[in-house]
């Protein structure tokens, strides 16, 4: 069914491209050429997909506990900035220590940032959708300030200095190693949710917090832990991006990724392993966007519209069901805990 949603979205996208006066066939050809035609473009697709896997995992993981984390962007920029700071600030370490250390620092920063809405939800009942969005704006301002005042590189451009080579995540030929790290983490999430007590507790809270509480699970603890892990996952995406692709943090870093995580998580029906192909799909759209603009003169923002359409078709299974005349649809719900 998610495949049908994607197909519908691509078809609708073709109509929009045609309406705006370009050829949809040329546009999609260029999109594929820019994302999947040779090892270089595949490398770029995987590079784009890496933070998307992590962002998708962050949203999907929180969903399992019935939480909707739309603060992925704030968590990501914190992870990216802290990883960048540790990456350039500490010198003389061998890479086997420095690279994981920077990743870990970024991840912990994101976990702490992600835990805030969890704590506010568990103790004060503030809905995480609003607090995470607000914290996005706070995070963007704070990282902006840290990058321009505290860890700023000498010079006119506001950015942190380039990280030491010992903190860089390598590429294997054209393929970014960071992507494979993200895949490993997706498998870890899948295992944690499927086969551990903690994962069982998370899913219980997501299905029915009252029943979970009655069964002796501390719902508050699970909410805070889940939000922290969700923040950690998003931040790790930012850290990998800093250490594997950009090499430093600059304001405006990877704007908008938090929302793509939502699309990917819903497209994957919140399954941690399904997040990987979903992220590759969206990553391919982003990687091929510039080729599409170059060859078919279609604004790359069309991929934003296609993503929004995918989201609409996935979020309303009934629309897709109508096409398939299927009876059951696995509907997602997060509205139950509003304001209580």
């Amino acid at each position: 069914m998610p495949i049908l949603a994607v197909a519908l979205a691509i078809a609708t996208g073709a109509i929009i491209i045609a309406l705006s006066g370009s050829s949809p066939v040329d546009a999609y050809k260029a999109l594929i050429e820019g994302s999947l035609s040779d090892s270089k473009s595949i490398g770029r697709t995987l590079e784009k997909a890496t933070p998307l896997v992590m962002g998708g995992l962050a949203v999907a993981f929180a969903f399992k506990a019935g939480l909707f984390n739309i603060g992925g962007q704030g968590q990501l920029v914190f992870g990216a900035l802290i990883a960048g700071a540790v990456g350039y600030g500490i010198t003389g370490l061998p890479w086997i220590i420095h690279t994981p250390l920077a990743l870990l620092a970024g991840a912990i920063a994101g976990a702490m940032w992600g835990a805030i809405p969890g704590i506010l939800k568990a103790t004060r009942g503030a809905h995480e959708v609003i607090t995470t969005i607000m914290l996005n704006f706070v995070a963007l301002n704070m990282t902006d300030w840290l990058a321009s005042k505290v860890w700023r590189e000498e010079g006119v451009i506001v950015r942190t200095p380039h990280i030491e080579s010992s903190a860089e995540i390598p590429r294997w030929g054209e393929l970014p190693a960071g992507f494979f790290l993200a895949v490993v983490i997706a498998f870890l999430c899948w295992y944690l949710l499927r086969s551990t007590t903690f994962g069982f507790e998370i899913k219980s809270v997501g299905l029915n917090p009252n029943a979970a509480s009655y069964a002796g699970i501390s719902v508050k603890k699970i909410i805070i832990m889940t939000m922290a892990i969700s923040g950690l996952l998003a931040a790790l995406g930012g850290a990998i991006e800093t250490q594997g692709v950009v090499g430093r943090y600059e304001p405006g870093f990877n704007a908008g990724l938090g929302f793509e995580g939502i699309t990917i998580a819903l497209l994957a029906r919140t399954h941690p392993l399904a997040v990987i192909p979903a992220a590759i799909l969206i990553g391919a759209m982003e990687a091929g966007g510039s080729m599409m603009q170059f060859k078919a003169d279609v604004s790359p923002e069309i991929t934003d519209i296609i993503q929004a359409l995918i989201l609409i078709f996935v979020a309303t299974p009934i629309i897709v069901r109508w096409f398939l005349s299927q009876k059951e649809a696995n509907e997602l719900s997060v509205s139950t805990t509003w304001g209580s």
């Binding site: 929009i16 909707f68 739309i70 506010l120 004060r124 009942g125 503030a126 809905h127 959708v129 609003i130 607090t131 969005i133 607000m134 914290l135 996005n136 704006f137 706070v138 301002n141 704070m142 902006d144 300030w145 005042k149 908008g256 929302f259 939502i262 699309t263 819903l266 604004s299 923002e301 069309i302 934003d304 519209i305 993503q307 929004a308 359409l309 989201l311 609409i312 979020a315 309303t316 299974p317 009934i318 629309i319 509907e331 997602l332 719900s333 997060v334 509205s335 139950t336 509003w338 304001g339 209580s340």
Partner: protein
């Protein structure tokens, strides 16, 4: 004056003691930061009202939806789409009025989308709203062509005759632009409609206990569609305010979180238009604080710290008040007739 009346007045002031105390403190703080100069004080108040207008409109959209049982997390996207649509229509037709109507119309369409997904198809309301937010960013970025301008400039200030010459109050209240006046009129109107008319009673009944409302012959689905679409129209007006009255152009992501702040305003105002106005003024003040900090030359080198104030206030308000404010009972639950 009888003893009863005196007691009632006393009770009123006691019940509102936190509002009164906050107001007094804020007035003092404002005067102090404005160095007790009339011009400075006036500009802080003007800025407060200007910042509060889109917030109270967004909050009225939110409370109209929520009073009938539908969470509208998509206010941000509705505002953004309308800001864009209103600007595009105004810049191509040359008429601001047409632009405002287009903004309202697009807002109503977006309300229709939300209602369609969450009321008609019984999808999850929060996901439906998020879909609107994300779609709005994509659509407005794709279809926006740079370099467009409004032929006649943004909306102009209308001075209300001699009233505009009153010191301070004249500048703040009686020299505004059209949508601001309209908003100031809408606040008491919506309050009256919601709490003194049949439609208002039905709306609240549908939000509190839909099945009971249905048994007395009120169409729950119909009321929810109506209110969510009307709410969308109000959010559309807020969008038109941003692009046609406040800024005079469209910028990517120009709503900048105002739709979400509006939700906090709605909760803080306890799902009541008048309360929401008070809350919006408070939040508007938090945004206007930048002006004051400039008078005193505070944090001018670190503008990021001033930038986070409205968002931090929103979080504090949510964390501090949500537990105590009671939302309409049936909120978030799709309704289907048994």
């Amino acid at each position: 004056m009888s003893e009863n009346q005196t007691r009632d007045i006393g009770k009123f002031f006691f019940n509102k003691r936190w509002w009164i105390l906050t107001t007094v403190l804020l007035v003092f703080f404002t005067l102090w930061t404005a160095e007790f100069q009339q011009a400075n004080t006036t500009s802080v108040l003007v800025s407060t009202l200007r910042h509060s207008t889109p917030l109270v409109l967004g909050a009225m959209c939110g409370l109209l939806c929520e009073r009938s049982g539908v969470i509208n997390i998509g206010i941000e996207g509705q505002m953004l789409m309308s800001a864009w649509g209103g600007f595009m229509v105004a810049s191509s037709s040359g008429s601001l009025l047409l632009g405002v109507f287009a903004g309202i119309g697009i807002g109503m369409m977006m309300g229709g989308v939300l209602a369609g997904i969450s009321v008609g198809l019984r999808g999850d309301q929060i996901i439906a709203g998020t879909v609107i937010n994300i779609a709005a960013i994509g659509i407005t970025s794709f279809f926006f062509s740079l370099g467009r301008t409004l032929p006649s400039g943004k909306a102009q200030v209308i001075k209300l005759g001699p009233l505009a010459d009153i010191p301070v109050a004249g500048r703040v209240l009686f020299s505004n632009k059209p949508i601001t006046y309209l908003t100031l009129l809408m606040i008491p109107t919506l309050w009256f409609l919601l709490f003194r008319t049949k439609w208002g009673l039905r709306t609240r009944a549908v939000g509190e206990h839909p099945s009971a409302a249905e048994t007395v012959g009120i169409s729950v689905i119909g009321m929810r569609y109506l209110n969510v679409i009307m709410g969308g129209g109000i959010a559309g007006l807020a969008g038109a305010y941003l692009s046609l009255e406040a800024v005079g152009s469209f910028e990517r992501g120009m709503t900048n979180g105002k739709g979400f702040v509006a939700l906090a305003v709605m909760i803080f105002g306890r799902w009541n238009p008048v309360g929401a106005w008070g809350a919006a003024l408070l939040f508007g003040y938090a945004s206007a604080i930048q002006t004051q900090f400039q008078f005193r030359d505070w944090l001018t080198n670190d503008p990021q710290f001033i930038g986070i104030i409205p968002f931090v206030v929103t979080i504090v308000v949510l964390a501090g008040f949500v537990g105590r404010a009671r939302p309409p009972a049936s909120i978030g639950q799709p309704y289907s007739r048994e």
